[in-house]
Symmetry: C2
Subunit: 291 residues, 2 copies
């Protein structure tokens, strides 16, 4: 696919989605602090195409919020996220992991979300082995995949930047994610590709081609700031960093993806402190110009 055949967003941002993390998850006292209804209205009013919610915002209101989102003309493109499956931040037992994994699938189904994001968790404590940890991850994902299928929810495996390899994701490359999906070989499994996590990987295009058409369930936008001060909460707005956004999107679209592009910016020191309406406006402008 030639680079000039990218989808043209210059005058059309209907493919733009908001991941609510961009507004600080709308948690009281952090970021916008908006209700789901306020988020929906603000996105609909600006012509966004979809919203990805976080479980903490939904609580018992999954069906209601899903319907409210669609009534405003938006889709629910995703739910964040499964529990960590392994490592120091995972629930204490495999049974606890599975219970919470099932709960997150149920919520995604009630919400009508197209996919559930999976951050797999870090290296199993005491194992000193990313390989063994990935085997345990694969075992859990394989067990849960049929449950997700039955609920009509895709599981979007998200490889995270290697900086999170120890505690948040022993799955650190698209290559490893594709390998895992091929090994489990279940149609519920897909990839989530996030600029923050893959921007440095020059083999991205090749790896995504290996994944085959239809294997990407989400594409997440932000930027990597050259002077990143906090690897968790200092993501950049598109255009403010060093990522080659058009080239990355080209790799994603060349692999057959034509779905939403979801802005997900964790930024405690900058974007979460700004007026949320301004943030949403700037996302639109940057989406049209630099993504």
């Amino acid at each position: 696919m030639p680079e000039n055949s990218l989808r043209d967003f210059t005058n059309d941002h209907s493919a733009l989605a908001l991941n609510t993390a961009t507004l600080g998850h709308n948690v009281e006292g952090q970021g916008a602090g908006w209700s789901p209804e306020q988020v929906i209205d603000a996105c609909a009013g600006r012509g966004y195409g979809a919203i990805t919610w976080w479980r903490r915002e939904i609580d018992e209101r999954a069906v209601e919020i899903g319907e409210r989102t669609r009534a405003a003309g938006l889709e629910v493109c995703g739910l964040c996220r499964s529990p960590f499956l392994t490592g120091p931040l995972a629930p204490p037992s495999r049974r606890d992991v599975l219970d919470d994994f099932h709960a997150s699938i149920d919520m995604a189904a009630e919400l009508g979300a197209a996919c559930l994001t999976i951050c797999v968790g870090g290296v199993i404590e005491g194992s000193h082995s990313m390989r063994d940890s990935l085997k345990e991850v694969a075992s859990i994902v394989a067990e849960v995949a049929p449950v997700a299928s039955a609920a009509n929810v895709r599981l979007a495996l998200e490889p995270l930047n290697p900086v999170y390899g120890g505690n948040r994701s022993c799955l650190t490359t698209v290559r490893d994610a594709v390998d895992m999906i091929e090994a489990i070989d279940h149609p519920a499994l897909a990839l989530a590709i996030d600029v923050y996590h893959v921007w440095w990987d020059l083999s991205l295009g090749v790896e995504l081609k290996c994944a085959g058409v239809g294997r990407i369930a989400g594409y997440h936008l932000c930027d990597w700031l050259a002077d990143t001060s906090d690897v968790l909460l200092d993501r950049g707005m598109m255009g403010d960093g060093v990522a080659d956004l058009k080239h990355i999107r080209h790799s994603v679209e060349a692999a057959g993806y034509n779905g939403f592009c979801e802005v997900e910016i964790f930024s405690a020191g900058n974007w979460w402190k700004r007026d949320p309406g301004e943030v949403l406006d700037i996302c639109v402008e940057r989406f049209r110009t630099v993504c």
Copy 2:
């Protein structure tokens, strides 16, 4: 190569080298604060095989410190490091980069160091392109390689963890480093493999095999802490983190490397605060047991 054919360090740590960063670079007021002579004596007394120095410790005394190191029965296995070649932390012009690059090669030659470590620098400001930045890096390295050859100094290209991709190294994977070395195709060029930078890369063994025998000029030890609090100055002691140290060394040795294993631990909050003699003792013990 079967994993059980690794070199056996259980009762022999003559392959152990100290990178002086482990003692806080011996800069006044940080870490040991030791003179080069104190470092040499402490390493020689404990049976270390070599030392890698930093330029800031050497100043005008390269010949003298090199001779003093060898007189104590140690080798100088490396010098850290070239200037950053690109990105926000590089000298202001290509001319300035080349001048300082040449100065670092001269110092390595005077010191009698086997290699000079190269951290290539980050993405060129305003370029949003890791690819273009790597092209500029390759152009500078190709220009300098004959100078290094003439001085009998190998240039050890060190791919850094992707977390440094923005400002310290647009070279983030062994794969990209091997590609660059093959493209430039000059015998002065080699790889430095550092556990901190590559521990997450499950394709390491395959990539190193592609590099061919004799292409590794340095192997650096530390560990990746699961809860790394600072990506620059919170490295772990071998065994305290999540890296699969034996597996990584297997990949390095299977590619033909049988040189020094150099402990390089930047640790402002822990190891730099301890008694330097204790740190050196613990390095020996961990080297014999977990590396």
